[in-house]
Point group: C2
Chain length 114, copies 2
């Protein structure tokens, strides 16, 4: 993500999908292109509230996407283009991943994240 499009604090009751992954060494360019395309596609989905993402030099990364409710998070999972890219991810870009779907209880901000 760019630092200029940071999501707002997700409201209580929103859904936060935590995606923890370990990259292979393969095809950084294809991965970056797919990640950008998926962020744009997610951004066009009803209920999408944004995402935060960080990955270290060791290839271990965490992405959290925020959704207005369970229905919008499930609709994104059911998106066909997203499904095709997930399949590519398992074949090519990820050694493994963990997905944890959560509901926001509360949150707050301190200082500046940009």
């Amino acid at each position: 993500m760019t630092e200029t499009d940071r999501p707002l604090l997700p409201p209580d009751g929103a859904v936060a999908v935590i995606f923890i992954s370990l990259r292979t060494d393969a095809d950084d360019e294809g991965y970056a292109r797919a990640a950008g395309a998926m962020e744009r596609l997610a951004g066009a989905q009803p209920g999408y509230l944004g995402l935060d993402s960080a990955r270290g030099g060791d290839g271990f990364g965490i992405t959290v996407s925020y959704w207005a409710d369970e229905a919008s998070a499930r609709a994104w999972r059911a998106n066909a283009e997203h499904g095709a890219v997930r399949e590519m991810g398992r074949e090519r870009w990820y050694r493994g991943y963990r997905l944890i779907v959560t509901q926001v209880l509360r949150g707050y901000d301190w200082g500046a994240l940009v």
Copy 2:
């Protein structure tokens, strides 16, 4: 974290605390020392289930800690030593942060994260 102490998949109903932060350029050594000390201290708390953490070269990072329930997550927040280190973090190590407390609805693993 080291890759050898990955947490188990948190059970449904567990609490996942998402900590999103932007580091200053200051005092990497003190920060790393405090982070290690806090991980050990958290590990000694009842209800602690582990953490995942990733930070990119731009200083933007995400840490997710897992707790058995709300009570154990709140007890960690109330820990005095943890509070003192949080204060140091605001003075020295972080430009800003966002904290989002969530409850796990469901999760799954694919492949290997080590």
